[in-house]
């Protein structure tokens, strides 16, 4: 290494304390400048291993760049920029620094050349995102953040066990393509899937994300699941199991989103659904599919952020989050409505939006690989996406009945962030070529053929029709939808309480029992019973002594009998 190379992720993370410390225009400048600097750095860095090091006798490569890593890194930095602009007016001063730490460590994960660096950034990401949820500073967000953190640390523990196993078996820490042939690799796989919100632990996402502040959710939507997509792509491309995991996530997301009433929770389920598409693409594993996955991750981050910004603006303006309490906002919030609709069109993969040029690549890859079932299911799911995110969200929030609310559009900084992302959603749809050149493999895909456009329009038209036909059934009431998180929020908590009290009961009963036995024995030995009183006076000391005796007897028995 002849010249000093900065790490874009560390640069962004290092800006976090600075932003926490700065005030006024200097803070605004830092918020805009840090992600821009990270983007420029990412753009200019050459490919290959840029940092080498040594940790515990293993070679590590904390900074390594390839095409896919650059693509993900760029969109993460872009996301930090948009989210930072959107959150400028957030009164909580913790949120943006936490989000930049989060974004910086996400970039660190994608630029990690070895598993140890990856793990460190992975955990930092969990901490950063937890702080973002926290920054909402409500009781609900605090509790959600703790549940969120626990799930992620559990995932981290699984991942860590897998990584150490892999390193111990192969003697190398480098992160290369893996196959599911050993326990270690299964554990790594499972650790990655936890962050991708794959079943059975999908519920953390829709549990925690909607509890963040109106601007916090925007940040959260982008990084955790997409880094998981990236590492799965790098480690487990072409694993068949992923196709089915992905399809499960696609439909899980649709069903729960259709049942949901909270507007941001609808969008959170829709993240699971969209990540499902990407996971399925990784499972297919052809160059086309992986290109599609990367492109879809890129465009998904932009339009999902746009959707959540419009939802965040509504929350900011009205303080309400339930569909049943909203409606008719297009009168007074035209800019927010327009941006929300652009995001909705993009997520539904409408032609001339970013969703169209990326999602269709995954479906095409399924078709090319002659996976008919997969292709059909993906097509059906596309219609489902239009139902839950494309129409349901804007319809219930901005149109539907008139809720009587007349809030104004949000302040200029928030509008600017939305306009930026809305522009990008459409620009990528109209000129997909710049995105395609960034993809990991060469692209020979032409999205705008008559067949593609017609198929997609028909699909959207019919599902749109279906939406309004079944509208009466979709009217949301204030309900709670039960998900797998019930298992750990209620069942396991109860079981843990039960377990601890049982342990105490058994332990004390056992000690008492043995103590009583010993006491009877001692009384029999000396009739006047002086020792019995001694035992009584210091019960607990006697209890301890009983344990020592048990230990000794057990060992003696063990050594002499076997």
């Amino acid at each position: 290494m002849t010249e000093l190379i900065f790490h874009p992720g560390l640069l962004l993370a290092a800006a976090a304390p600075l932003i926490a410390w700065l005030r006024g225009p200097a803070r605004t400048a830092a918020i805009v400048a840090a992600p821009l600097a990270a983007m420029i750095l990412l753009w200019r860095l050459p490919q290959g291993v840029l940092w080498r090091g040594q940790f515990l006798d293993y070679a590590v490569a904390p900074l390594q760049l390839d095409a896919a890593a650059r693509l993900f890194g760029l969109v993460f930095a872009l996301m930090a920029l948009g989210g930072g602009m959107f959150a400028l007016r957030q009164p909580n001063r913790l949120e943006i620094p936490a989000a930049y730490l989060y974004a910086g460590s996400a970039i660190g994960v994608v630029l990690a050349g070895d598993l140890i660096t990856l793990f460190v950034f992975w955990e930092l990401m969990a901490v950063g995102s937890t702080l973002v949820i926290w920054a909402a500073a409500t009781h609900a967000s605090y509790r959600a953040s703790i549940r969120y953190l626990m799930i992620h640390l559990l995932g981290g523990a699984v991942l860590f066990a897998g990584i150490t196993g892999h390193v111990a078996q192969t003697g190398s820490t480098l992160f290369t393509a893996l196959t599911l042939d050993s326990a270690a690799h299964w554990l790594i796989f499972a650790g990655f899937l936890v962050n991708a919100a794959a079943p059975p632990l999908s519920a953390w996402l829709s549990d925690a994300y909607p509890e963040a502040s109106w601007s916090g959710t925007v940040f959260l939507s982008a990084f955790t699941t997409k880094t998981a997509v990236y590492v799965l792509m790098r480690g487990f491309a072409g694993t068949d199991l992923l196709v089915w995991v992905g399809l499960f996530m696609v439909f899980y997301g649709i069903v729960y989103a259709l049942l949901e009433n909270d507007m941001r929770r609808i969008l959170a389920y829709s993240i699971v659904n969209q990540v499902g598409f990407m996971v399925a693409g990784i499972g297919i594993g052809t160059e086309m599919a992986l290109n599609g996955t990367a492109a879809h991750a890129f465009s998904h981050i932009l339009y999902k952020a746009l959707l959540l910004m419009s939802a965040g603006s509504v929350l900011y303006a009205t303080g309400r989050r339930k569909c049943s309490e909203l409606g008719g906002l297009f009168h007074s919030m035209p800019a927010t409505t327009a941006c929300g609709i652009v995001g909705a069109l993009a997520i539904s993969a409408f032609p001339l939006t970013s969703g169209f040029v990326s999602k269709s690549m995954i479906a095409q890859a399924a078709a090319d690989s002659h996976l008919v079932t997969v292709w059909l299911l993906l097509a059906a799911a596309s219609a489902g996406v239009f139902l839950h995110a494309g129409i349901k969200f804007p319809w219930f929030v901005f149109f539907q009945k008139d809720s009587g609310l007349r809030p104004a559009d949000p302040p200029a900084s928030m509008r600017a962030a939305m306009y930026l992302f809305a522009f990008l959603c459409i620009a990528l749809g109209v000129w997909p070529q710049p995105l395609y050149t960034l993809l990991p493999y060469e692209v020979s895909y032409e999205p705008y053929t008559a067949a593609h456009v017609l198929t997609q329009l028909q699909l959207l038209l019919f599902s749109g029709l279906a939406f309004f036909v079944v509208l009466p059934f979709l009217k949301r009431t204030a309900t709670i939808t039960l998900d797998a998180d019930w298992i750990y929020r209620r069942l396991l908590a109860a079981a843990a309480r039960r377990g601890i009290s049982t342990y105490r009961l058994v332990a004390s009963a056992l000690a008492n029992r043995v103590q009583a036995l010993g006491r009877r024995w001692i009384t029999a030995m000396n009739r006047n019973g002086t020792r019995e009183r001694l035992f009584d006076r210091s019960g607990s000391t006697a209890g301890m002594a009983v344990w020592v005796m048990l230990m000794l007897i057990a060992q003696l028995a063990l050594y002499h009998l076997f």
Partner: protein, 493 residues
């Protein structure tokens, strides 16, 4: 007189002599200077020994020029030098801390007695490690234990007396078991020298008394090192003792007991004998029980000192887990964790002692808002907590890593998972503190931030910084631990 030749015994003798002089002086300040000087001298001597052992190999020293096995032998090998450095180092860092801490907690007329006891306890602990003679071990165990009963009883509330009494009963049982075990060994071999004992054990035909000795020594030392479920004396003793005492004992006493166990297992009984007996399985089960049950109990404590005490029990589980592997990797993990946990936990108890001084107690409700009131103290506690969890970049991670490597070597995947899972429990109890210190509002608003006295804060932070340093550069600790493990198992160094 050539002092270098007497190096092996000097770290023990210096603090031992400082104690009676401290008593005779009857002045707290004189006693403080004496004890501090003695502990720093002991540290310097221990480091010198460590360097010498590294260069020349095991040192044997015959007291009064009586050659072993007839005379008492002091024997310093890589492992004992390493533990000597740990014990004297922790003592040397804690003593400057004691001054303000003891002034606040003890009446003036007890100060010189405190330092005398401290010197005795230190001499006892160092003696256990330095000696190569079985009966000498017992004597030093008793010296250090008697001193520590007195030290604990000095705690400022009356529960300290009960805790000390319980520790006294338990400690006496443990020491009695130890001496019964040593007696049986003496009966069968006719020698008290550890190295000699090992050679003669090979010729012993009737193994029954030897096995009984093994059982007694294991049970006795398990009690002293607070192996679950024989840990019950520990939480009360640690939480009611004066803060400096909690820190010193947490960092050294249980660790030295582990050392005794290691010494008897591998230098006397030999790896072959120990592994055939099902002892490994017993240790494995009890270690796992400690890692999970004690961590779970720690989560439910409302007092921070007690929480840390239960956490000690859990961390001891990691040490004995490494023991149960009976491989070089496993013993390396044990020894390195013995060191890493010693410095981390001593640092934590010292910081908590500072918080107790300012906030008036270690109850979680009193510590609410500590992050704002005492930012340096609480940040140090968080860093130490990270090391307890085993976050990469802390000393705890190095321990956990070597433990996992040892488990993998035996292909025990479920253990890897268990280790990772129990660090989650550690996270939960560390989180209890974070929540109290940073998230809860203080019960009554206090006047602006007031930190602990600088002498206390600096001492504590030295240990916290060390626990970070040894997480980043582990060549010193891991290297020594591995050399110690290899010499114990008789593998080529």
């Amino acid at each position: 007189m050539n002092l270098v030749a007497h190096l092996p015994i000097l770290p023990v003798v210096v603090p031992l002599i400082s104690a009676p002089i401290a008593v005779l002086s009857r002045r707290g300040s004189v006693a403080f200077v004496l004890a501090t000087t003695a502990s720093w001298a002991a540290l310097a001597l221990a480091v010198a020994l460590w360097v010498q052992v590294g260069a020349e190999g095991t040192i044997s020293y015959a007291i009064g020029n009586w050659p072993p096995p007839w005379g008492i032998e002091y024997r310093i090998d890589t492992l004992s030098a390493f533990v000597l450095v740990l014990v004297s180092g922790v003592a040397a860092i804690i003593l400057p801390y004691c001054r303000r801490s003891i002034e606040a907690e003890l009446p003036r007329e007890q100060h010189y007695l405190f330092y005398a006891m401290f010197g005795l306890c230190l001499a006892g602990l160092l003696g256990i490690v330095a000696t190569g003679d079985a009966f000498n071990i017992f004597v030093f165990v008793e010296i250090s234990a008697l001193a520590s009963y007195a030290l604990i009883a000095l705690g400022r509330d009356r529960r300290a007396l009960v805790a000390s009494y319980q520790y006294l009963i338990m400690g006496t049982i443990g020491a009695t078991f130890l001496v019964i075990g040593i007696g049986l060994l003496y009966l069968m071999t006719g020698t008290l020298n550890l190295a000699d004992m090992r050679q003669r054990l090979a010729d012993v035909s009737d193994m029954r008394p030897v096995l009984t000795a093994l059982a007694f020594i294991t049970a006795g030392m398990s009690l002293k090192l607070a192996l679950f479920p024989l840990h019950q004396w520990l939480p009360n003793a640690y939480s009611h003792a004066p803060s400096a005492v909690s820190a010193f004992l947490a960092g050294t006493a249980t660790k030295v007991s582990v050392y005794v166990l290691l010494r008897f297992y591998y230098s006397v009984f030999g790896a072959g004998l120990v592994s055939d007996l099902g002892l490994r399985e017993v240790l494995l089960v009890l270690s796992l029980a400690a890692m999970f049950a004690a961590s779970a109990l720690a989560i439910f404590q409302t007092d921070l000192k007690k929480l840390l005490a239960y956490s000690s029990v859990a961390q001891i589980g990691y040490i004995t887990l490494g023991l149960s592997f009976e491989s070089v990797a496993g013993l390396t993990a044990s020894i390195v964790h013995l060191f890493n946990h010693g410095i981390t936990k001593a640092g934590l108890f010292m910081l908590v002692g500072g918080a107790v001084l300012v906030m008036g107690g270690s109850d979680m409700s009193r510590l609410a808002g500590l992050g704002r009131a005492m930012p340096l103290t609480s940040f140090g506690i968080v860093l130490g907590g990270l090391s307890l969890i085993g976050v990469p970049g802390t000393a705890g991670f190095i321990s956990k890593w070597s433990l996992i490597v040892a488990a993998l070597e035996r292909n025990q995947w479920w253990l890897v998972f268990a280790i990772a899972l129990s660090s989650l429990l550690a996270l939960a109890y560390v989180w209890r503190f974070v929540e109290a210190a940073y998230l809860r509002e203080p019960a009554q608003p206090r006047e602006g931030g007031r930190e602990a006295p600088p002498s206390m804060l600096i001492s504590a932070w030295i240990l916290v910084a060390a626990s970070i340093y040894f997480g980043l550069d582990s060549s010193l600790t891991l290297g020594s631990a591995m050399a110690g493990a290899q010499s114990l198992l008789g593998a080529a160094p």
